[in-house]
């Protein structure tokens, strides 16, 4: 175990900005991509089976 407690974990040895800045943006973008994928599928299904787009 690397950490003496959660405070130490979140502090990341003084590199919190860089480490959590990396992980935070990654999670946000993946969540956004999944939301966009679902929205695109819903929109595609709405037009399915119709002759005009």
């Amino acid at each position: 175990m690397n950490w003496g407690g959660w405070n130490e974990f979140w502090a990341m040895g003084g590199y919190a900005l860089y480490v959590w800045g990396s992980y935070g943006v990654t999670i946000a973008l993946i969540v956004a991509e999944i939301a966009l994928l679902r929205a695109r599928r819903r929109a595609a299904l709405r037009h399915t089976g119709t002759s005009n787009s």
Binding site: M12, G13, V19, G21, V25, E33, A43, L45, T48
Partner: protein
């Protein structure tokens, strides 16, 4: 003779692979694969992060800042692999004139761009504490930035052409021309004197990092693989529906989505 153009049959292992080149056949197959790849990605990600944060030790030179590696390296690897996959499907599409191949290339691009952006973003956040700068115009970083522009260019070009067949071909040509950038990215740290460090992991020599760090990184790389496959299959299903919205087989899906 007024037959529609049929792709030639490609038999291997007793399976006619061109059967799955038909969007109608591929659509349900992709649908059954998505949850498997999605859940595998989630499980591998949790395992990789657990090892990365709770088992892998603090780096004796970089302290805790090195933990960015668990995103940075998988994202950078995948940014190149996705481009190669995109160029592969573009080449298949141009050669055999299979629509689904072009749809695969189109479906890969946004996730490829996302991974490229993440490689650059996490690289900047790692560079600042390690090198004292967010960015340098060195060969590795510049060629990775060009990769991002290639993805954007591919997507922009396809979006800008109304006729889907022409958009497919134009995008495919761009994807194939841009593939020269991939070896430039990969070998940049060897060919030029870059601020970016050389490879810590290679097929020909022992890794220069602790086994637990490597394990966490490889698990995250595998998670990124599976996530990319799941996202791409999900997107290609939407693209199939968008392009085939008038086709008979898609009609029941409106009431009964599968």
């Amino acid at each position: 003779m007024n037959q529609p153009a049929q792709p030639p049959a490609l038999w291997a292992g007793g399976i006619n692979w061109f059967k799955y080149a038909a969007p109608q056949t591929f659509y349900p197959l992709a649908g059954t694969m998505i949850p498997w790849f999605g859940w595998a990605a989630a499980v591998l990600c949790v395992a990789g992060l657990y090892i990365g944060f709770f088992i892998a030790p603090t780096d004796h030179q970089q302290g805790e800042s090195y933990r960015i590696i668990f995103i940075h390296v998988p994202a950078a690897w995948m940014s190149m692999l996705v481009y190669l996959a995109m160029a592969f499907w573009a080449a298949v599409g141009l050669t055999f004139n299979t629509r689904l191949s072009h749809m695969m290339a189109t479906a890969l691009a946004p996730t490829g761009a996302l991974l490229t952006f993440l490689a650059l973003w996490t690289g900047a956040l790692w560079g600042k504490p390690t090198w004292g700068t967010w960015w340098a115009w060195d060969a590795r970083m510049t060629s990775e930035l060009i990769l991002l522009f290639l993805y954007f260019g591919f997507m922009g070009l396809q979006a800008g052409i109304d006729d889907p067949r022409r958009a497919d071909r134009a995008g495919a040509v761009l994807a194939l021309v841009g593939v020269v950038n991939i070896p430039i990215i990969y070998f940049s740290v060897k060919w030029w004197n870059t601020l970016h460090q050389g490879a810590s992991v290679s097929l020909t020599s022992a890794p220069t990092m602790a086994a637990t760090m490597l394990a966490g990184m490889l698990l995250m790389a595998l998670a990124a693989w599976f996530y990319t496959i799941a996202a791409t299959l999900h997107r290609v299903r939407s693209i199939i529906l968008e392009r085939e919205h008038g086709a008979e087989w898609t009609r029941p899906l409106r009431e009964n989505p599968r």
